[in-house]
């Protein structure tokens, strides 16, 4: 099997840039969200559709990013 329909886009969640990538392996869609800087994976989700996988990855990333405290420098 091959990864198909790979795509990547960037959006902002909770004030942070986030990369959302998705691809299909057979009948299963995979989505991953990472914080752009530095690029660490925040969520990996599998679902039956691209929309569902991405939405769940975004929701999980938003939850984690919402906990990030900004300190006054």
């Amino acid at each position: 099997m091959r990864a198909e329909d790979f795509s990547e886009r960037q959006l902002e969640l909770e004030g942070w840039p986030v990369n959302v990538s998705s691809w299909r392996l057979g009948e299963t869609w995979h989505a991953k969200a990472d914080n752009v800087s530095p690029g660490a994976a925040l969520a990996r989700i599998t679902a039956a559709s691209k929309e569902e996988a991405e939405a769940n990855a975004i929701a999980r990333a938003k939850e984690l990013l919402g906990r990030t405290r900004r300190h006054v420098v």
């Binding site: 790979f6 914080n35 530095p38 994976a41």
Partner: protein
């Protein structure tokens, strides 16, 4: 598509393309390993024939905070079916950070033929290459023997303290600008793992990602020279790279040592989770100064 000529790098033999891996993954003399924090991504699908190494449990001592001992590395290699003559090809998610960490340890323990797959897992997926969910059968017990650790590749706290005091080495902070300034104490979305934010006084801020193209491959030799040279990191004196836990700085360590060919480069794996929790250690806060300042 980026117009990068891998042969230009100081040690082009340490990189392979995704196509090279596709052509050689079944070669019995080649062992391909996907490396990440855990094996979740591997379990979803990986390069056919690849095995998995988990950073958390297999590439760090799980009791003490340390890299593997010589005996632990030998055990890992034997269980991976890796012989001393094998070509070890490493790749991973998270932009090859943890693959670079494994590369660093393999070099510490003297494995001669180690290579990173340029672009890592992301590029493999994006190219629509073959993916497997099967774990390959491995012939273990190769009698692997590691060398004594080459600690010239690793920086310990006293060496970093000395470098900070007397500027004997260039300190390169590869974290994000917000981590460098002290605005955040860990990458966005990850747990805070230090008491204080900021950076080691005198360190230059050169985030790891500046060395990579959008597709995860490394930038060209000229671009890398400009990037690091522009910050005064030109190989004329020793370099110590650090981040939060030492994995992003493994990526930069690889770039400096094998792509640019600097002789004396160390990875400070204690990184900010050590320095940022030390009693009495000096810390600077604020954005990076312009080059030359």
């Amino acid at each position: 598509m980026y117009n990068v000529v891998m042969a230009d790098y100081a040690h082009p033999e340490t990189l392979v393309t995704t196509q090279w891996v596709a052509d050689h993954a079944a070669d019995p003399n080649v062992r391909v390993v996907e490396v990440d924090v855990d094996t979740k991504a591997y379990d979803e699908g990986h390069v056919p024939g690849a095995i998995a190494w988990a950073w958390t449990t297999q590439l760090s001592d799980t009791l003490t905070r340390d890299i593997l001992s010589k005996e632990q590395f030998e055990k890992l290699a034997n269980e991976a079916g890796l012989s001393n003559a094998s070509t070890l090809v490493l790749y991973g998610d998270n932009n090859n950070w943890f693959a670079a960490w494994a590369f660093w340890q393999a070099k510490i323990y003297g494995h001669k033929n180690v290579r990173l797959m340029n672009g890592g897992r992301k590029k493999w997926l994006a190219e629509g290459r073959e993916i497997s969910t099967e774990k390959p059968a491995i012939k273990t017990g190769t009698g692997y023997r590691a060398t004594a650790p080459d600690l010239s590749l690793r920086a310990f706290l006293p060496q970093v303290q000395e470098a900070q005091r007397n500027h004997a080495a260039a300190l390169v902070d590869v974290r994000s600008p917000q981590e460098f300034s002290g605005e955040i104490l860990a990458p966005p979305g990850l747990p805070e793992t230090c008491q204080r934010g900021g950076h080691i006084p005198g360190a230059r801020s050169i985030p790891w990602g500046k060395a990579a193209n959008d597709d995860g491959t490394f930038k060209s030799l000229d671009e890398l020279r400009q990037l690091y040279g522009g910050e005064g990191v030109d190989g004329s004196k020793p370099v110590i790279a650090y981040c939060r836990i030492g994995e992003r700085s493994s990526h930069t360590w690889f770039v400096l040592k094998y792509l640019l060919g600097y002789d004396n480069v160390r990875n400070y794996d204690g990184s900010w989770t050590e320095w940022g929790n030390l009693v009495g250690a000096p810390v600077e806060r604020g954005a990076a100064k312009a080059a030359g300042q």
